[in-house]
Structure formats: C-alpha cells, structure tokens
C-alpha cells in the first residue's frame, strides 16, 4: 500500500489534506490544522488497519517524518488486531525520519449529538475547547444535511463556550473498497483526525462497558496506543452504563434537546428504530420528557416493539430492565424481561443446533452465502467470530 503525493493546502474554507493510496485518493477537509509541516502520523493511524486487512506493507514514498512513539504503538495495535482476527495480518511500516512532533495545543472530543459523545462532552466540559463532527465515515450525507447538523451542533457547543470543528472525508469509500467494517477502522480514523489537526488531547467516547466490550476499532486497550509524544487519545466513559449516561444528559435540557441517536437520520430522531426506542424507554423510566428530542412520548407498544435480536440489543434491554426494576416500573420491566427471555431461548436453540446437528442452520446460511455475489459479502469485523 503505497502512500504518495501527500499534500496539505489551504482551500477556501479550510485546509485540505490528501494522499494517494495506490490508485485511491484519500482526502480530509479541516477548518484548520495546528501543524506547520506535513507529517505521516495521521496517515499511519488512518491506514494501518486497511493495510493489515489488505496484507500489504504501508510504504510512504515521501520522506515525511513520523512519531517514534506512534510507530511503537502500532506494533501492539497489530498484535491485538491479529489476535482478534487473523485476517488482519501483521505488516511493516516504511515511513520517513523518526521525529517527535512539536508541542500541541487544544483539548477536543468527537461529537455528533449522540448519547456517548454527549456524555463525554458534559463530563469534560470544563476542559474541552473543541468538539469535532465528522462527515464521511459513520455517516456520509449530502452537503445540506451535513450543514444542518453542523449548525445544530455548533449552536449547542457555543452555549457551553466551545468551538465546533466540522471535518469531512471520503474515508468511507476506502473502507468499502476493502470490505472493511467501520467497527474495525473507526478507532484509527478518529486518531488520524486528532493527529492531523494537531490536538494535545482528544476524547473518544466509549460505546460499551468494561464487561461487554467487544473487539472494536476504538477500545480502552487500543486508543492510547495511537498517542504520539505530544498528542493523547483518551477512551472515555466505559465505566458508565447507558442509563447513567442518559441520566446525566437528561439533567441538562440543552443536551437532551440536542440528543440525536437515530440510525436513519442524523438530524431528527425517528422514534421507530431500535436506537431511538431504547433511548426513549430509558427517558420514560427516568421520568424525562422524551418530546424534547423525540417525536412523541414512549408507550408500552414502543417497549413491545423494541426487538432484542443480538447480544448488543440484549445488553441495552438488560440495562433498561435494571432501570425499570430500580424505578419500580413493573409493566415495562415485565415486557423487557419477556423480550430478553425470548432472545435467550432462541440463542439456546441455535447453540443446541450447533451441538447436536453440527450447526445445520449455520451450514444452510453458509451455503446461501457462497452463492452470494462478491459485492454482497459481509464486511470484515475485528472479531474472527463476526460481530
């Protein structure tokens, strides 16, 4: 994987960083960057995981400097990823001279108005100066939609005296090319953005707890390994349960009003998808007014509609069940308990199938998958066992 034509230039409304990755041009657009020189650090962070899945060394054709501390960190990152899923092969990195980056300024957190990012924002509000909003990775929306999101989140940030930094990129296209899931690459991408801007400290909000933490691109074992001598990445909020996060957010009306969790729309919560439903249920149990950020109040029908379909949704249901039991809401508790039990019984059936029938159902799915077109093949996840 050859990186060439690394270029940083001022454009009308900010700074554009671009590089050729073999025959693909990767670009980032920042409002500004702290850096006076072109460095390899951000690109190493963005491209390590893609290079591992491609099984190719990362080769910089230009002699641009890199951080020795970061390079050391990539060795451990590779060990962890390779252990999680051997499809991530260990690769060599050929970069320019090893030179520690100069002192950095600024403390930021990644933010899109979602649950985890808002929790981290509120918690470190005293320390933060910036919040970073990205288009072109977790979501890739048209300009008008992104501008609306920027305006909304900028208003929110300014209420707390913070500056919003909108960042755009076409990184999502690189992932699609390699069939690399966002779950595998997002940690490196976030680190890349923080290092390219040249911040001293950047918080990455955790999406999981210490017990249910799966192999993921952003992980408490990984994030600090992207550190350079002068930039620090901090994985934040792992110790807080989802309901603790919602509780903190709902104590701040501005945060609750700005809360956006929806799969379908980055600017409006639909009130129908699983992400909306699980958040609405928690707000109802906390006696908060869901209408500040959701279309309507939560009903028991919404609780019935919240489907437990995998371990992740089971975790959210269990979190809400614990909250329902604590707050004495017996009806919601009974519905959630029933959903969880049905899922557990379905899982048991699958496991018995695996044990007694050699995974007949899985075999059928695999046969079907083998007849799929290549473009329908599933993305590569951090874990060898899939999601």
């Amino acid at each position: 994987m050859r990186i060439s034509n690394v270029d940083v230039r001022d454009v009308n409304d900010g700074v554009r960083l671009s590089a050729n990755i073999d025959d693909f041009t990767l670009w980032f657009h920042f409002p500004w960057v702290h850096q006076d020189e072109i460095r390899a650090d951000g690109l190493i962070a963005a491209l390590l995981i893609p290079a591992m899945v491609a099984g190719q060394p990362l080769v910089f054709t230009q002699p641009i400097p890199h951080s020795p501390k970061l390079l050391q960190g990539t060795s451990k990152i590779q060990s962890i990823f390779h252990s999680w899923n051997p499809v991530f092969r260990k690769i060599a990195i050929e970069a320019g001279p090893a030179v520690a980056p100069p002192e950095r300024n600024g403390v930021a957190s990644f933010f899109s108005g979602g649950l985890d990012g808002t929790f981290t924002f509120l918690r470190h509000s005293d320390e933060l100066q910036y919040v970073i909003l990205i288009n072109g990775f977790d979501f890739s929306c048209d300009t008008a939609t992104f501008v609306k999101s920027v305006d909304r989140n900028r208003c929110f940030a300014e209420r707390f005296g913070k500056i919003l930094l909108p960042v755009q990129t076409n990184y999502i296209e690189l992932g699609k090319k390699l069939r690399l899931s966002r779950a595998a690459s997002y940690g490196g991408l976030l680190a890349s953005i923080a290092l390219n801007i040249g911040l001293r400290k950047t918080y990455i909000a955790s999406a999981y707890g210490y017990v249910d933490m799966p192999p993921q691109g952003s992980h408490p074992m990984l994030d600090h390994l992207w550190n350079t001598e002068t930039s620090e990445l901090v994985h934040d909020g792992t110790e807080a349960s989802r309901t603790e996060k919602i509780s903190l957010i709902s104590s701040n009306e501005a945060a609750l009003t700005n809360l956006r969790v929806c799969w379908r729309d980055i600017n409006e919560n639909c009130g129908e998808c699983s992400k909306c439903l699980r958040t609405m249920i928690a707000l109802r149990l906390l006696n908060q007014d869901e209408r500040l950020s959701f279309p309507r109040r939560t009903t028991l029908a919404d609780v019935r509609r919240f489907a437990v379909t995998d371990d992740s949704s089971r975790g959210f249901a269990a979190d809400n069940l614990a909250l329902a039991e604590r707050t004495g809401n017996k009806k919601i508790a009974a519905l959630l308990r029933s959903s969880i039990r049905k899922y557990d019984l379905r899982r048991l059936a699958v496991d018995y199938d695996q044990l007694f029938l050699g995974g007949l159902t899985r075999s059928v799915r695999s046969w079907f998958r083998s007849r799929m077109k290549p473009e329908d093949a599933p993305d590569i996840w951090p874990s060898a066992h899939g999601h």
Partner: protein
C-alpha cells in the same frame, strides 16, 4: 482499612517489608541486594481490591507515602473492577484513599519477570530474555508457604535453569496471596495486584507479568492487559505480556528450548512437582501430546478416558482444550482427536444445560440438585 506499622527489617541476608492491615500482618521477604525502601506503594496496591470488596476507605499512615502517578492510575482500576465485580462475584465498590504522596526511586535497570517454570512465565522470559535482568521466584503463590520440601525441589530446578541462561534468580516470599484470600479476594481476582505489590516491595524498575489469556478470549480477571499496566508507578512499569500468543503456541515455543522443557511445571496441587492428574496438568499433557513433545516432568498422556471426562469449569480453560483440538484436527493422532472432541462436546453440553436451567427454569434445577446433594451427604441419625 488502615495500613500501619510499615517497616523494613534486615535479617541475615534478607530484608522484610511489612505492614499491619487492621491487625493482619502482610509481609514481603527478599534478598538484601534490593535495599529496602519504606513506602506505601506495595501496600496500596495489595490493599486496594480488598478495601473495595469491603467498601472501606483505605487509609495509609503518614509515613507510608505513595506515588501520585500510581494513585491516579488506581482511579481507573477502581472503575474497571467495580464493573467486573458481578462477573468476579465480588461486590467491589469505589472507595476513598487517604495517603500522603511522594515519589520513590527504584533500583535502576532492574527488569524482573515472574518465573516458576510454568508455560506463561517461561514464554515471556524467553521472549524478553535480552531485557530481563532478574528472574523473580516467589514462594507463597503457587505453593503453600509451609511446603518447604516442594519449594526446595522447585527452587533447585529453577536455579539451575537460571544458571543456564546466565540470569540471577531472586527468591522472594510473601503472604500476599493469603492476605487477599482472607479479605474476600481469592487469587484469580487478585493476582495482578498481588504480583504488582511484590514488584513494588522489591523496588524493581520494570516487571513483566505473563498473561494467562489470549486477546481474543479476554474476560474479567485479576491479571488483564487493561489493568496490569495500571498498577505501575513513576518508578515501576508493570507490563502485561504474552496475550498475543495462545497457550499451545507458547508451549510449542518452550519445547524448542530444552532447558525450559526440562523444568516445566504447571501444577498447583502442592503435592509433587506435577501431579499429572489435576486439570492444569492434564491440559498441559494434552497439549504436549498434540505437539508430539515429551516433557520429562510430566507422565505421558495415555489415559484418554481422563481427557473425555475432564470437567471444565471456566470458559478460558475450555478455550485451551479447543486450541488443542484445532491442532489435533490437523494431525494424525485420531484417538486423541476423538477424546478431545468428546471432552469439548460434553463440557459444551454441560454449559448449555446450565444456561437452559438459568433461562428456562430460573436456576431451580441446580438449586434442587444442591439440596438433594446436601441431603444425601448429611449423616443419618
């Protein structure tokens, strides 16, 4: 929980660092070549989890100063162990720590690696052989403090190995494991902090803690790649090593170095060097047979019925058996392969049945079994 009477005393050629923890005497004994440093770091690390298990403020006497960086790290340790508490079945709660802060120097360039001839420790040592300056051999961790006979036998083997690789081996003894157990922290939940406290007591600059888990199979555990480094201070770096290699790969690596294979010891039964019958011995013997390796410290695995019937209680231990099966599937040892398949199948069935009981019957079946067992085993009057 109060830590008082922190003191170092010299006896013959050994130093003892000790403290009273609410009347319980916790001690560490090591050679005089490591000059004693009276400070609170070792006791802070050893007492944190017990204090959290009891929900008590940890209060160190004024002279038992602690490193500010260590204190900061322990904030995150507390978060992790509180989250892990339900899985470890210990009711950890966040607590306050009262201690004076001061940094303390370590003996420079002293890089230790815990070593007792086992798979993980040997693998880590061989991998970092150039960097490690001292092998740390602890009495009171994998054998009873009072088992002098077994200690002598193991010490002599390990000392000979240390001479072979031209590294000093440091005999250390401590009752830290028993301290944890007496304070609601059994060793599986405690051993990361227990080992780290030993390294702090000695005053090393770096210590390797060999991993017992593989990155893909991590679970809440006393020693973990996430938590072990957090027991570090400004003067001691604690490094968790080897989670990127499966146990069978480690054994394969050790098998290529005859002096290490010659002293291989995994048994915790406190009876002989390796009893050859317990679960740890059996799974090592399985892996040796899968690899086609003879280790002089183990009997050859002949009784495959014991493999079929092996009862596995922890997921991580079943993972070790699965590793062996994966390798056996590529080989020609059909009887062993079939025995391993049977072992994995039986234990997965047991796990499924336990889960079925929990989910479908709210655990009533296992409760009923326990009651029946208690009734049948009670003496008839």
């Amino acid at each position: 929980m109060r830590v008082t009477n922190v003191a170092a005393s010299l006896e013959d050629d050994a130093t003892e660092l000790s403290a009273s923890i609410d009347g319980y005497r916790l001690w560490y004994r090591f050679p005089n070549t490591f000059a004693p440093r009276v400070n609170g770091n070792a006791f802070l690390v050893a007492c944190l989890l017990p204090a959290m298990a009891r929900g008590e403020t940890l209060d160190l006497e004024p002279s038992a100063t602690v490193c500010p960086q260590l204190l900061q790290n322990l904030d995150l340790i507390q978060d992790v162990f509180v989250a892990w508490g339900p899985v470890l079945r210990i009711p950890f709660r966040r607590i306050d720590i009262k201690a004076n802060v001061a940094t303390v120097d370590s003996k420079p360039h002293t890089v230790g690696s815990f070593f007792s001839g086992g798979v993980d420790g040997t693998y880590t040592l061989l991998r970092h052989r150039d960097e490690v300056s001292h092998l740390i051999f602890v009495k009171g961790i994998d054998m009873q403090l009072t088992n002098d006979h077994l200690y002598k036998e193991v010490w002599e083997s390990n000392a000979e190995f240390a001479r072979t690789i031209a590294k000093p081996i440091v005999p250390v003894s401590s009752n830290v494991r028993f301290f944890g157990r007496a304070h609601q922290c059994p060793w599986p939940a405690f051993f990361g902090s227990g080992l780290a406290s030993i390294a702090h007591a000695i005053g090393l600059s770096k210590i390797f803690v060999a991993s017992g888990m593989f990155y893909a199979d991590l679970e809440p555990h006393g020693s973990h790649p996430l938590t072990d480094p957090l027991w570090s201070s400004a003067s001691l770096a604690v490094e968790h090593d080897g989670a990127d290699a499966r146990r069978i790969e480690k054994l394969r690596s050790i098998a290529g170095f005859e002096p290490a294979l010659k002293i291989l010891r995994v048994c915790w039964q406190d009876k002989t060097y390796n009893c050859g019958r317990c679960e740890k011995c059996l799974r090592t013997m399985i892996q040796l047979r899968v690899l086609g390796v003879d280790a002089p410290t183990f009997p050859k695995l002949i009784d495959l019925q014991s493999v079929r019937r092996l009862r596995i209680w922890e997921d991580i231990e079943l993972d070790f058996v699965r590793e062996s099966l994966a390798i056996a599937n590529q080989g020609h040892d059909t009887p062993l392969r079939n025995a391993l398949k049977s072992c994995v199948w039986r234990n997965e069935l047991r796990r499924l049945m336990r889960r079925t009981d929990e989910i479908a019957f709210s655990g009533r079946i296992s409760k009923l079994r326990e009651q029946l067992r208690a009734k049948l085993s009670s003496p008839k009057h």
